[in-house]
Amino acid sequence: MIKYPRMTMTVVNIREEANDIFTIELAFVNSNCDIKYFIAKPGQFIMVQVFGVGEKPFSIFHSVETSLSFTFKRIGSVTEALAKIKPHDLLTIRGPYGTEYTLSHGRNLLIGGGYATPPIRMLAYELKKQGFEEPTIINAARTQEYLLYSQEFNKLTNAYHEATDDGSRAYHGNAVELMRDLLTQEKFDKIYISGPEKMAYFAFLEAEKYGIPCEISLERYMKCGVGICGSCVLDPTGLILCQEGPVLSSETLRNIEDFGKLLRNKTGSIEKI
C-alpha cells in the first residue's frame, strides 16, 4: 500500500506568461502509475520533482482528467530547471495535497497578487462552471508585464479590476489599496485571497474591519508536503499548513500569530517575513 504515489507525467507544453513566469502543462501517462488521473480543486497544490535538482510545491492552475497545469516564477534551482523543460520531458509529481477554497453564493471578491494568482484563476473558472454569481476580481502585480491572465479574467466577470505598483496599467497602487477603495463602495459576502503574505495579511485586516470572512492561501517552506517534517507549521496553534492549508479561513487565521509576520526557513529557524 502506497499512501501517496508519485506519478511520472509528460510535459505537453511550456509557455512563458511574463518575464520569468512560466506555465507547464502535464499529461497523465496511463501506464506509469496506479493513479490514472485526478482532478484537483482550486487552492490545492502538487509537489513537482525535477530529478537531480529537487522537489517544490506549486499551486494547481488548471486540472482536468487528462492533464494539469501549474504556473511558476523562476527564482531558484528547481524553478530554474523547470524553465528549461521541453515538451515530451518527464516530470514526477505527487499530490494533489491540501485544502481547497470553498465555493459559496453571494457577492464574492477574489484577490490575486503576482505569481500567486493561479489558484484565483482556477477558482474563478470553477465559480463560473458551477453557476455561481459573477465575482469581483482584483488582479495586482508590480508592473503590467506581471499581470497574469488579464484576458481570461475579463471574460470571467464584468467586475474585473487591475492594479500595478508602478501604475504602468490601471489602478496605481497595490491590491490592498484597491480593495480598500472597493470596500467603501460595495458590500461583499466573502473574500478569497492568494498573493504575497504581507499583501494577504493587510487584506485580511481590512476584511476584518468590515467583518467579511476570508479564505486565504498561504505559502511556507515545505519539505515533505505530507505533515511530518514540521517545516510548514504555524504558531501558536501548531497548524500543519501542507495538510490543513494552504487555504485557511478567517477563523483559523485569527489564531495564527505568525500570519504576515514570521516563517521558518530551510533550517527551521524563525525569520521575519
Partner: protein, 301 residues
C-alpha cells in the same frame, strides 16, 4: 505511570524528527494524546539538511533523507521553554554532534533548560558521507560519548541506537554501564533506496535514506525484546508502530513507552488519540487494568 521519575499520561512518545521543530507542533501531539514528545535532533549550529525530495515511500514504509535539518540548539531550546510553559508532559531533547565532544557541550546546554530528558542520537544514517560512519556502530565511541554526557548532566538521558549494528544489544548494555538512563530503540534502518523506473533515477535527492514504518517493526520488536533481557533501564520501543496492536506488541516485549514516527505520515498527528483508543479497547477486554501491566509480558513464565 512514571517514566524516569516523570508522570506520563500515555505510553506514546512523539519520535524525534517528526514535527518536532516547533513547540506548537509538539503541544499538538500532547493535546492529541501523546504522553511525551521528542524534539527534532538539534546540533550546535543550524542545518538546512538535504534538499527535497527528503522522503520516498515504498510498500511498507518510508525512506527518508531529511539530513538532520534543525535550527540549532539555541533556537531549539527556546521552543522547549515555550513548550514547558504550556504543559507538564515530559519533553526529550534529541541532540547530535559532528564530533564526540559536541555531545557533552550540547547536553550541558540542555541540562540548563527546562527539558525533562536528553536523547543522544548516535545513529542517524542520513549524514554518513559528511560525518563518516555513525557513532552508533562503534561500541567504544558510544561508550565515550555516553560517559562524557554523564559527567555534565543532572537530568536523565537516553541513548538512541541503530539497528545496523549487529551488536546493538551489547552497545545498549555498554551505554547503560557508562551512565545512560535508558535506551531508545531503534532509529531508522539504513540505507534504503527507491528508484523511479521511468527516469531510472533514485527518488530521494540524496539517493538513499533511512527506512522506517511497518517494514521495520519486527526488527524493532526483536531488538527491544533482546534489550529488555539485558538492560535494567527503561526502553522507548520505536519502529513501525502504527496501530494500538503494534504498541501492545512493543510493550509486551519490554518497551516502557512506545515511540511513534512514521505513523504520523499514515494516520495524521491525531494518530495519538487513535492509538490511545485502540490500546484502551484492548485493555478493557483483557484481564489487565492498566497498560503498564503489559510491559515485558512476553518474558513471563
Amino acid at each position: 505511570m512514571k517514566f524516569l521519575g516523570k508522570e506520563i499520561a500515555s505510553p506514546f512518545v512523539l519520535a524525534s524528527g517528526i514535527l518536532g521543530i516547533s513547540a506548537s507542533s509538539m503541544l499538538r501531539a500532547v493535546r492529541d494524546g501523546a504522553g511525551m514528545v521528542t524534539t527534532k535532533s538539534l546540533s550546535l549550529t543550524p542545518r538546512a539538511g538535504h534538499d527535497s525530495p527528503i522522503i520516498a515511500e515504498f510498500d511498507g514504509g518510508l525512506t527518508n533523507s531529511v539530513g538532520l535539518t534543525n535550527p540549532g540548539i539555541y533556537e531549539g531550546l527556546e521552543e522547549v521553554e515555550k513548550y514547558k510553559r504550556e504543559t507538564d508532559a515530559p519533553i526529550i531533547v534529541s541532540i547530535f554532534g559532528r564530533h564526540i565532544d559536541d555531545f557533552a557541550e550540547l547536553a550541558k546546554l540542555v541540562n540548563q533548560s527546562s527539558a525533562d530528558f536528553i536523547e543522544l542520537n548516535l545513529s542517524c544514517p542520513n549524514v554518513e558521507d559528511e560525518f563518516s560512519r555513525p557513532f552508533a556502530l562503534d561500541i567504544h565511541k558510544v561508550g565515550k560519548i555516553v560517559a562524557s554526557v554523564s559527567r555534565v548532566t543532572t537530568i536523565p538521558f537516553l541513548t538512541k541506537l541503530s539497528p545496523n549494528a549487529p551488536n546493538i544489544i551489547d552497545i545498549a548494555k555498554h551505554a547503560e554501564e557508562k551512565g545512560s538512563h535508558g535506551a531508545t530503540l531503534i532509529n531508522t534502518l539504513g540505507h534504503g533506496m527507491v528508484i523511479d523506473i521511468y527516469t531510472a533515477k533514485p527518488v530521494l535527492k540524496n539517493h538513499f535514506g533511512g527506512i522506517s514504518g511497518p517494514a521495520i517493526k519486527p526488527l524493532a520488536v526483536k531488538i527491544v525484546h533482546d534489550a529488555y533481557k539485558r538492560l535494567n533501564t527503561p526502553i522507548i520501543g520505536t519502529g513501525g508502530v502504527t496501530t494500538g496492536n503494534d504498541a501492545i506488541e512493543m510493550l509486551m516485549v519490554g518497551a516502557t513507552t512506545v515511540g511513534v514516527g512514521t505513523a504520523v505520515y499514515y494516520r495524521g498527528v491525531d494518530v495519538f488519540k487513535a492509538l490511545d483508543n485502540e490500546l484502551n479497547a484492548f485493555i478493557q477486554q483483557s484481564e489487565f487494568t492498566h497498560w503498564s501491566e503489559l510491559i515485558g509480558r512476553v518474558h513471563r513464565d
